[in-house]
């Protein structure tokens, strides 16, 4: 290691005990002989000490008072709404009501019959199970598998989700403006190992090889999706299986308080099993 100074991040890892024995010993040996790196190590220690010496801020009284006031207002609103079957109940119902799977197991009527899970990522036959959709206004939840790589880029997100939402209407002539029956391949698991940030609205065909990384059942989807609209009268319009920051993610698009906008939430792909999975509002985009 002579002549090669230790990277300062590695010194930090060394201090934290994050290096394996071999690397740890190598760094220790180098630092013992190298004044420059020993100096950096001291500098890092001083930095950690400076961080540790910061007093923990406590919430100022006026901030605490306003917080309490706002919460009191909102919790009253919630209680009132709940008693008249308003804002709160949809989540309860969605989570507790049994989900009814159609014979085709792909068109799913959630709870009160107001929300459909629809897959339309591959052409289906038309037939008795086909229902007309007029997304995005209808009480229809479209499920897509675009594999799109979502990021903080609001414009890009907006373009992508609106294109997905518009797809049924624009494709109506070709017959995909309907809710499709997936026939013999009910709820295919999503192959997220196929990687990255590919493709736009064109969905990969999910084959039976499928992935270990994400096997949500439709029941789990419903519970996950419901967390994005709980406590509000927003409606979920679209679920897209894609990526966020390179990680498999469920993207849920809902109506917004502003009728001209849509809310776009990111949910971890393991939403249904992750105890601390919270929908993250990544963007508000124009409809």
């Amino acid at each position: 290691m002579t002549g090669e100074h230790v990277d300062i991040e590695e010194l930090s890892a060394f201090l934290a005990g994050d290096l394996d024995d071999r690397d740890h010993d190598a760094v220790a040996a180098h630092v013992a002989d190298c004044d420059a790196c020993a100096g950096e190590l001291d500098g890092l220690r001083a930095t950690l000490a400076a961080l540790a010496s910061l007093a923990t801020p406590t919430m100022p009284e006026d901030v605490a008072r306003r917080l309490t006031q706002r919460l009191e207002t909102e919790t009253k609103a919630k209680t009132g709404a709940g008693s008249r079957g308003g804002d709160v109940l949809p989540l309860v119902r969605r989570r507790r009501a049994p989900l009814i799977l159609s014979a085709a197991a792909s068109v799913l009527v959630v709870a009160l019959g107001v929300t459909f899970f629809v897959t339309r990522d591959k052409p289906g036959r038309s037939g008795a199970d086909v229902t007309t959709a007029s997304a995005p206004e209808a009480d229809v939840l479209v499920v897509e598998h675009s594999g799109f790589g979502y990021s903080h880029n609001e414009a890009q997100i907006g373009e992508h989700v609106t294109s997905l939402l518009r797809a049924p209407a624009t494709d109506a002539a070709g017959g995909s403006g309907t809710l499709l029956d997936r026939g013999a391949t009910p709820t295919p698991p999503q192959d997220f190992s196929a990687g990255g940030t590919g493709g736009g609205a064109e969905a990969p065909v999910a084959g039976p090889k499928s992935a270990k990384s994400l096997q949500l059942t439709t029941m789990d989807q419903a519970a996950c999706v419901a967390t994005t609209t709980s406590g509000s009268d927003a409606k979920a319009l679209l679920v897209d299986y894609g990526f966020y920051d390179g990680q498999p993610a469920l993207i849920v698009v809902t109506t917004d308080q502003n009728p001209d906008k849509l809310s776009v939430f990111i949910l971890k792909a393991d939403c249904a099993t992750n105890p601390v999975s919270i929908p993250y509002l990544v963007a508000r985009v124009d409809r």
Partner: protein, 201 residues
């Protein structure tokens, strides 16, 4: 009565719309939430907004709390998300005051080895980190969360938390002038530093 209940009991009552139970939770956890928000966001107005949004969100989502995580971890995650949301919204705003504060701190090379930084210096340096690094440092080094809990709160693997912490600490050391390498304020420290003794004079 509510005061003696555990967080988990209180959050269960909150899920049924019990505002009083939730109020107890808020009182217990508001300083923690505030500390994360003010250290992450820097601006008291932004921090207040984020904390309000976070607690409202927690109340609305109380039903989605599952008992297999600690309430504080779950709440941290909500606060982190509220902060991220706030940062995204205010990203367009130039961070001029912070820049000024940092250059003032770093302008004088004779201060490099000053024994104690003021809290303001450290806060200003923190503000220069990337959002990801700052959040990791805030949770692990300032809030004292174990890396595993910080990982849950951030929704990333533990290895990611560690590497963000190491990069963030390295960057802070540069910004605070704890390293003899010339601090290139604001430059990413990906290449670490090549110590060049005496360059500071």
């Amino acid at each position: 009565v509510a005061d003696e209940q555990t967080d988990e009991q209180l959050v269960a009552r909150s899920a049924d719309g019990d505002g009083e139970a939730f109020g107890v939770l808020v009182t217990r956890h508001r300083d923690r939430a505030w500390a994360v928000a003010i250290r992450t966001l820097g601006d008291p107005g932004d921090a207040e907004d984020a904390v309000q949004e976070a607690f409202l969100s927690a109340f609305r989502q109380a039903r989605s709390f599952r008992g297999d995580a600690k309430f504080s971890t779950w709440l941290h995650r909500i606060v982190v998300n509220a902060c991220l949301d706030r940062m995204r919204k205010s990203r367009a705003r130039p961070a001029v005051p912070i820049d000024d504060a940092v250059s003032a701190t770093l302008a004088d090379p004779h201060d490099y080895y000053a024994a104690a930084e003021t809290a303001t210096d450290v806060a200003a340096a923190l503000a220069r980190l990337s959002d990801d690094q700052r959040l990791a440092i805030v949770l692990v080094d300032l809030q004292g969360l174990p890396v595993e809990e910080a990982a849950l709160a951030l929704g990333v693997p533990t290895g990611t938390v560690k590497s963000r912490c190491h990069r963030g600490r390295a960057q802070l050391a540069l910004l605070l002038g704890h390293l003899r390498g010339t601090p290139a304020a604001g430059e990413p420290s990906n290449e670490g530093s090549t110590p060049t003794t005496g360059s500071g004079t």
